[in-house]
């Protein structure tokens, strides 16, 4: 009897030490002990983001790359320019010196600042999207007792995308810097400026943004994780509709056709995408038109740089917005196809709602670039000789509008084809 009791005790102990608790045939992980809590905590935080998740945030990588590339070129040049000492220059060269310093500051603040701000918005968008799409996994972690802050710490990985983008931008800026320095002084009015490495600039453009974005990721992730566990597990995070929106919606009569209703509701649900589509068309309109004017006002290199940044930035942002809109509505699209809605109606109902923000962004971008260049010519280059008068370039506007429409249509076409090829069965069975 005593032996039997001993054997039972020993079996009990064995179960305890194996870290597994058996309940009516089910196997559950045991409550975390102090030691394995530490271990599991590291694993959980590490498991939240994969390398794929970080590389998928290529929108942030591209934007931070562009921002740091532009800022590094101009700020490094400005810092080196200051080292030659303005007081040693003759008065006519002094004006050029001042204009170059002012241009550098303005471009860095406007481009760098705007792009970094956009990166921050995009970062929040990625985290929100991640929480929406990984609700079950995060819900399980919360249900198991992991504190929000520890889970949110895993989101700091998103800050790495800033490190990748800004690091690459900084490096490429240094590669192209000799050419840029030569272009800034083609007339040879200024003495030769030697390229120097400025650790403070590296810290301000690469290290500090990475740290700030890591912290921002954790804070925003923490804020998003305040959702109740059950809502995360049931996927209710993305389907919650604010009461005011509901009231407004219910006050209206359902007189609109279904496709129109869907288009409106999709746009309303994805406000961040409205911003990104508007931003993409803003960037495209302003930078493309600006590049036409830059050739005369500055140099072909500057024009090419602005042109490339404009095209890459707007294409990436537009592509990202479209991908997110389609992914978020993948099941809706599958259902619509199952019910027999034509492919064009399907893609139009999901993506057609962004036409208005695109038009507004384009108009704002056009006005912005015109105002910026006009101001630059009027004030910054006021005392510099031989600067041509800046006029609104109508052919550039038409060309930009046509090329942007073509880009927008190509992206829509790509996604209509993708929708056409979707397997309704796989989507319905959750095998997306």
């Amino acid at each position: 009897m005593a032996a039997k009791h001993k054997a039972a005790q020993s079996a009990k102990n064995r179960r305890k030490t194996s870290g597994i608790t058996k309940i009516k045939g089910f196997t559950l992980p045991q409550q975390p002990t102090h030691e394995n809590k530490k271990e599991n905590g590291q694993t959980a935080a590490g498991m939240i983001l994969s390398i794929g998740d970080i590389t998928r945030s290529f929108g942030i990588i591209i934007i931070s790359f562009c921002a740091v590339f532009v800022c590094t070129l101009f700020l490094n040049y400005n810092t080196d320019l200051k080292s030659i000492g303005a007081q040693t220059l003759q008065s006519d060269v002094q004006n050029l010196y001042n204009a170059l310093v002012m241009t550098g500051k303005m471009v860095s603040i406007l481009s760098g600042g705007c792009l970094l701000l956009t990166s921050a918005v995009m970062l929040c968008f990625y985290i929100r999207h991640y929480v929406d799409t990984h609700g079950k996994m995060l819900g399980i972690l919360k249900a198991m007792g992991y504190p929000n802050l520890r889970i949110a710490a895993g989101f700091s990985g998103f800050g790495l995308s800033i490190l990748i983008g800004s690091g690459a931008g900084y490096a490429l800026a240094h590669v192209t810097m000799p050419q840029f320095y030569r272009m800034q002084n083609t007339d040879g009015l200024l003495p030769e400026i030697r390229i120097r490495f400025h650790p403070a600039l590296f810290a301000a453009l690469v290290i500090v943004p990475t740290i700030v974005f890591c912290l921002l990721s954790v804070l925003y992730g923490y804020f998003r994780l305040k959702t109740p566990v059950l809502d995360l597990l049931k996927g209710k995070v993305s389907t919650k509709i604010p009461k005011e929106a509901k009231d407004r919606e219910n006050a209206k009569k359902s007189s609109l056709p279904f496709l129109q209703e869907l288009k409106t509701s999709t746009r309303r649900q994805q406000k961040s995408l409205v911003f990104f589509v508007g931003f993409a068309s803003f960037c495209y309109a302003s930078m493309m038109q600006m590049s036409f004017g830059m050739d005369e006002l500055a140099s072909w290199m500057m024009a090419l740089m602005i042109f490339l940044i404009g095209v890459v930035l707007s294409s990436v942002t537009l592509f990202l917005a479209t991908t997110s809109a389609v992914k978020a509505n993948w099941k809706t699209l599958a259902l619509m196809r199952a019910f027999g809605y034509p492919d064009k109606a399907c893609s139009n109902s999901i993506l057609g709602g962004y036409r208005l923000p695109a038009c507004i962004g384009f108009a704002l971008g056009t006005v912005y670039q015109y105002a910026l260049l006009k101001v630059a010519v009027m004030f910054v280059f006021a005392e510099v000789e031989h600067v041509p008068e800046y006029r609104f370039d109508v052919p550039a506007l038409i060309l930009t509008l046509i090329s942007f429409t073509a880009l927008y249509k190509i992206i829509l076409h790509v996604y209509t084809e993708k929708i056409k090829r979707m397997s309704i069965r796989e989507v319905m069975m959750g095998e997306e």
Binding site: F258, L262, L335, A338, F339, G340, P342, D343, I424, M428
Partner: protein, 230 residues
């Protein structure tokens, strides 16, 4: 009338190919209620997908009043689904950002049915037509899916495990709505389920195993949703 002739369907690459349907032949009369029974992996859902025009078979014919939908182009099949069929799925698949009324409009607009409010009333949800899917119970959500499908005025209604996510009471309620509306509107029902009790509601029962039809029988009398076991 639907005539299915020697349907074959496989999935996977050449090395890892699995034949899911192995030569299925059936005839379904207009206004019939067919229940397809079978264990998980028997091929019943694949049969439903192929017959409803969601997927192409590898070979064989699916004739709807003489038209072979297996030979139609993708656009033609979309048109076929738009005009002839409706679906009810186990997971409801309601559009989360639209209220009940607008979800039902999704089906109604395709049939140019302006009286979609009647479809909502038919499933007893008039009071909740302004509610959003997440504000409804599972049974209510499935009733919205029923209303959405019927507002489309289909000739054939396909149901894939419609009570799979519901408890007994709500499951019976949903089946009762479907069966009463089928009798009233006389559309054809093809339902896939693993619940053998539901077979008692059907006129024709098909049992599948390993991609083949192993048994077909006709019920002399069809029970109501409240008379069957659960």
């Amino acid at each position: 009338m639907i005539k299915i002739e020697d349907i074959h369907k496989s999935y996977g690459s050449q090395d890892n190919r699995t034949e899911v349907l192995k030569g299925i032949s059936l005839t379904v009369g207009d206004g019939d209620c067919i229940v397809v029974l079978g264990a998980s992996g028997s091929g019943k859902s694949t049969l439903l997908n192929v017959v409803s025009g969601l997927e192409y078979p590898d070979s064989g014919k699916i004739l709807y009043d003489g038209t072979n939908i297996a030979a139609l182009s993708d656009n033609e099949r979309t048109k076929f689904r738009r005009e002839k069929t409706a679906f009810i799925f186990q997971q409801y698949y309601l559009l989360p950002h639209l209220n009940v009324e607008k979800n039902v409009k999704m089906g109604a607009d395709l049939a140019k049915n302006h009286d979609y409010i009647a479809a909502i009333a038919a499933v007893g949800l008039s009071e909740k037509r302004r509610k959003y899917p997440h504000e409804l119970s599972g049974g209510e959500q499935q009733r919205v899916a029923v209303a959405r499908a019927l507002a489309k005025k289909p000739d054939v209604l396909f149901l894939d495990e419609p009570t799979g996510a519901l408890d007994e009471t709500t499951g019976r309620q949903v089946l009762d709505y479907i069966s009463r509306l089928q009798k009233e509107l006389n559309f054809t029902v093809i339902m896939v389920t693993h619940n053998t009790n539901i077979a008692d509601m059907a006129k024709t029962v098909i049992r599948m195993n390993s991609g083949k039809v192993v048994d077909i029988w006709q019920n002399e009398t069809q029970k109501t949703a409240y008379e069957i076991g659960w």
